[in-house]
Subunit: 415 residues, 2 copies
Amino acid sequence: MSEVQTKGKAAKAASYELMGITTAEKNHALELIAGQLQADQSYILEENAKDIEQGKDRGLSDSILDRIMLSEARIKDMADAIQMLVEMNDPIGEVLETIEKENGLSIQKQRVPIGVVGMIYEARPNVTIDAATLSLKTGNAVVLRGSSSAKFSNIALVKSIHTALEKSNLPVDAVQLIEDTDRETAKELFRLNDYLDVLIPRGGKNLIDTVVRESSVPVIETGAGNCHIYIDESADKKMAQEIVLNAKLQRPSVCNAIESLLVHSNWFKENGKDLLEKLAEKDVQIYGDKTVTEAFSKAELATEEDWHAEYLGLTISVKLVDDTKEAIDHINTYGTNHSEAILTEEEGNAAMFLQGVDAAAVYHNASTRFTDGSEFGYGAEIGISTQKLHARGPMGLPALTSSKFFIKGSGQIRN
Amino acid sequence: MSEVQTKGKAAKAASYELMGITTAEKNHALELIAGQLQADQSYILEENAKDIEQGKDRGLSDSILDRIMLSEARIKDMADAIQMLVEMNDPIGEVLETIEKENGLSIQKQRVPIGVVGMIYEARPNVTIDAATLSLKTGNAVVLRGSSSAKFSNIALVKSIHTALEKSNLPVDAVQLIEDTDRETAKELFRLNDYLDVLIPRGGKNLIDTVVRESSVPVIETGAGNCHIYIDESADKKMAQEIVLNAKLQRPSVCNAIESLLVHSNWFKENGKDLLEKLAEKDVQIYGDKTVTEAFSKAELATEEDWHAEYLGLTISVKLVDDTKEAIDHINTYGTNHSEAILTEEEGNAAMFLQGVDAAAVYHNASTRFTDGSEFGYGAEIGISTQKLHARGPMGLPALTSSKFFIKGSGQIRN
């Protein structure tokens, strides 16, 4: 058997053991992991240094190297995050539905672990810890497949997890790392229906698209965000400026930052130039439609590609529209169903927009940057789902659970 | 554009219109459909007769022809089922979660339609009506792709739906039938991620396996049921006989009928022969392990394939085990995560079994035949999910919904 097969099978067996584990046992194991990461700190940093060195040799950019880099502070952050997870409620066992039948059958729908969670991800080694500990908290086994650029770090982190699990009541096999980062091991995971119950990709658009296209294991699609703000005719000028600058600039590289601005043509006549000037002052490159480029000389003409683009940087597209309906149609055509906002003083237009835009999170008079597990109060999150099945939007612990009907009888048969 | 592309695109556009439709408008449309089916009865029966004639020419079996066959009574059943659907609660708009943030943001998670539901199914034309009306009730558009053997019937039924929708406030494009039943149109649906939000296969194991393997559209896997009953040492003899006979014989062709019996060896010594004799009296063919065949001469020796088999007929496999743990392991190895039962007077063994068996529905002292939307009180069901994401077990109306976060602010930006 290949590494993927062997480790997938071991994870599946561990997932059955995890079905009988208590909340206290899971929390104890998580605390052991938090402690072990700090105990193993110097070893982890040594291994991480190898990834950094190799990355420099390969010519990785400073921003990617920064994502891979670990430090005492970052290891402490991981341990702190695990401690927060310990304090969160355990969703497993929650009763979702109770049905008492006339024939005496008692049916209870309870939250149970999913089983085995597969994670395919890029660069950041902290995903290794996040995915493993979120999975364990929800009683799942996990099969991790990180990228070659963080290979030494991931091996060291999982070694530390295994040391901790050996001292716990949880099976060590509950956390598996695929060490071979060849493309073929990813393909094997896509077809590992016998052992994986779900596959979650985290990373760039290419990775996510490939997983969605090729995986026969059920996928939760996360992440890509071509997010818009629509400034309606009645929008408050100052509020619009503050929200647009925040949604574009507070952290331009993330999925819930905006990439595109739709502006009611009447609002634009009055206030458009001021707003675009403020963006340009912050070095934002603007691609606009014809009217926008005519009104604002620093803007360049947008192409069809711009309406589709997730820039993830200091670039924005700007298009004028004549009403809320046109804004909704544009977003439903070009958006990625992530986070979309309307700025307006007209409740009717707000309601039409919130209802009509097909996205995980829709905002009235607020920045799209709030679409985040921690902002919603879910604590740690495994990603932000942009698909519509199972989970949509920020995924808290319940997104890593399934359900099961428990039926108790006293000899009932069906007529 | 191909038929699949054109109709998929039209369904997507209709799904956006459906977002703003009220419960009353949906129910009115459903009532129009129920009425129209009865008004068009003679035309529908004429078209159905063509399918039957063609099926006979092709040499289809009587049982398949019976599945395709419509009659006045069956059309009335369809209309009655639609009337029941009208009376069911509309899940759309249900508030699933409310989060009030300190910064004044108000976050509400609401149930919304999924968007466009794709259905691929075999034979029975009533699935056309079920899928269309369940989708409309939940505000979804639907793309239907039935089999060639029910082609004339499906076209007639959808024509009737369209006539009704024209008189309603719902878009006619909300219900699309792919008339070309060539294999290629199924493949196109597997890749129609731009327009389909989910694809649900209904039919035999081959169809379902193909869809799961090949579809990049998210799939809800339904149906296959290699269901077991485990008779524990302490099981009541009379109860065990009644439940086993019911679960095997009440309707052997359905997915929640049992295919395999696991029997504690001590119980078997006392009561095994009597039970097997009762099955044999009802013409059930028994494949057993070595001890079973030695004790009961009418049993033949089971092969590895028998433990995997979903017979869907008068056949059963029987294996002796030494304890509950061995039964659980066998089921988790060979089962299809559908419906599994333990018969026992020992609460501890029951709890271990219900917890440890990985299935949508787990039973203590009752027949597996209850895994059914109508038995659970969900009314109409679109299928029984045997996967763990989104929906598990009988799928009622909520299985055809997604969720969306509605966030209302007054200028909030993220720090």
